[in-house]
Amino acid sequence: MTDVMIEFRDVCKRYGTLVANDHLSLAIRKGELMTLLGPSGCGKTTALRCLTGYIRPDEGRIFIDGQDITDVPTHQRELGMVFQNFALFPHMTVQDNVGFPLMIRSLSTTERAERVAQALRLVRLEGYESHYPRQLSGGQQQRVGLARALVYRPKVLLLDEPLSNLDAKLREEMRFEIKEVVTRLEITAVYVTHDQAEALALSDRVAIMNRGRLEQVGTPEEIYEHPRSRFVAEFIGLSNFLEGHVQAVDGDIMVVSVGGLQMRIPALPNAGQGQRVLLFLRPNEVELLRPDDPGGANVFDAQVEKATYLGDTMDYRLTFGQDMTLRVQSDAQRRFGQGAPVRIRFPRVRCWAMTSG
């Protein structure tokens, strides 16, 4: 495939008994912003360090633009990188920091100055050329880092949790700025983060990692709407999980028994009677009805155990069936108090087959 920029092919990295990357295979397309998302220790940083060459994988190969770079030293990989702690050179001015990659590449002074000015314009830091990093705010420092990473037009831009050292408001602002710059330059970018909101907002595609393995790769919509595992569903957004088993299969509908209640949901392929399943519901995908509303398919009686006012939404904890609890969020227009009886409807239920045991 010609439109692949970065490819991990069966990459493994172990630290003693700890497996940081377990047969990681991932292709990142040209011009795409791919986020490696996962909790700390999931191997996302190891994967990034394998790309920079700071870590050499035990097994597997890594390709950039069709070239096997597994054994290419870091400085020849033509990468740009933005660091979590900025990693600016404290003894150099902004001008020299951004110009460093050009100085190393022996560009003439005039061309260097021109390209530095261009890069600083890109991150809106004109006029700060003679400042030292410590004279800048966190957001400005990170913009210098971004300019330094982009100034020599690398094939690939790597971003290692670039926003986690900034305060919340600035983080959101920088998020859009990074997205805009990356889109404008049509550069391939790999973004590492543990923040799901960041990942959803920025990425063309997200790769969710857990314990050194890829859990799921897809667009933010795919990941959110169709999580392929409980881990992904839990990691992205809020979720309710209910365990049940298949009672009957009727064409493309199956009846699942959950905590003494029967739910009719779209049948899983190959689901047979007795198959144990895990139902998964987003809190905002549960409909709250008045107790006197008419019943129907997938409508159940429930009771409000706890109601929390969140401004634009109400956050409820409900009990229903036999000792089942459910978290539901609905808009704050219609409110139910603590202990109030309600009806809930499940317009949409997703489920996975569980392996027995």
Partner: protein, 289 residues
């Protein structure tokens, strides 16, 4: 009385706590210093009268000026070599190589071994029949005569390095370890080789630390006494020269010794203030601090 005690108790307690330090300062430092200064202006062997002769005699004497020059050659040479030795060593030690704890301890050995013992050991090792020359004669072609190290200037500088380089090495290591490694990674990702990272990023950043550490090495080397006394042969830096004035002639020439001591102190203060000014300017590596 009780009123006085109440209002002044905290001051009195402070004074009481300061007393040992004050007694120590005056008795052990200030008084001897003052005595030395006074003595250096007295005619030799007399308790009265003032003269500059002790200074002029030493400074006018070519031998005297040679002693001063030699002291600088030895201490600056030793300091420069210490830096050259410390930087690579610290770069290796920070990588946490196998057994790095042991090597770190070894670096400190010269600080705990008494100078006297160290000097004797070095004399034995570097002597014409020492291991160094035995190795040269045995294994290195075209070496037919033992190489003279002991009682030469370069030998003495070598001994200085062994004794005083730990100061420089430790401070170099600590400033290296306080460096953020991701800065170096940023340099490498930007396209710099390891050497370029060392040259453009690491060295400029640790230079203040190296210079600060080398001041300690320089001060120790400038005042070195036991090593040049034992291993210096005909090379006598200031400290040994002072001792010689007291130990050799009868009666001892206390005034001459005092004058040389004052000269030594003044030189040290002048040189240190110049050095510190240089260090504070960042060692010429740019960047306000």
């Amino acid at each position: 009385m009780t009123g006085f005690w109440r209002t002044h108790s905290s001051r009195l307690i402070t004074l009481f706590l300061l007393l040992p330090a004050l007694v120590g300062f005056f008795g052990l430092f200030f008084y001897p210093m003052l005595l030395t200064v006074i003595l250096s202006f007295r005619p030799e062997g007399q308790a009265i009268g003032w003269t500059l002769e002790n200074y002029t005699r030493f400074l006018a004497d070519p031998d005297g000026r040679w002693v001063i020059l030699l002291t600088f050659i030895l201490s600056l040479g030793g300091t420069a070599l210490s830096v050259l030795l410390s930087v690579p060593l610290a770069l290796i030690l920070r990588e946490k190589v196998r057994g790095h704890r042991f090597y770190r301890l070894m670096v400190l050995v010269p600080l705990v071994v008494p100078g006297l013992i160290g000097a004797l050991g070095l004399l034995l090792f570097w002597g014409t029949r020492g291991w160094f020359n035995l190795f040269l004669l045995q294994f290195v072609p075209f070496v037919e005569r033992p190489v003279a190290v002991n009682y030469t200037i370069h030998g003495l500088i070598l001994f200085y390095v062994w004794l005083y380089f730990p100061y420089t090495c430790i401070t170099t290591l600590s400033s290296l370890e306080s460096l953020d490694r991701s800065i170096e990674e940023a340099g490498e990702v930007s396209g710099a080789t390891r050497w370029q990272v060392l040259r453009y990023i690491v060295l400029p950043l640790i230079t203040p630390g190296i210079l600060a550490g080398s001041v300690l090495t320089f001060m120790a080397a400038f005042g070195a006494f036991s090593v040049p006394l034992i291993a210096g042969g005909n090379y006598r830096p200031l400290a040994v020269e002072i001792y010689k004035q007291i130990a050799v002639p009868i009666p001892a020439r206390w005034s001459a010794a005092s004058a040389i001591a004052i000269i030594m102190g003044v030189l040290q203060v002048i040189f240190l203030s110049l050095y510190m000014r240089f260090v504070r300017r960042g060692g010429g590596t740019g960047g306000p601090s």
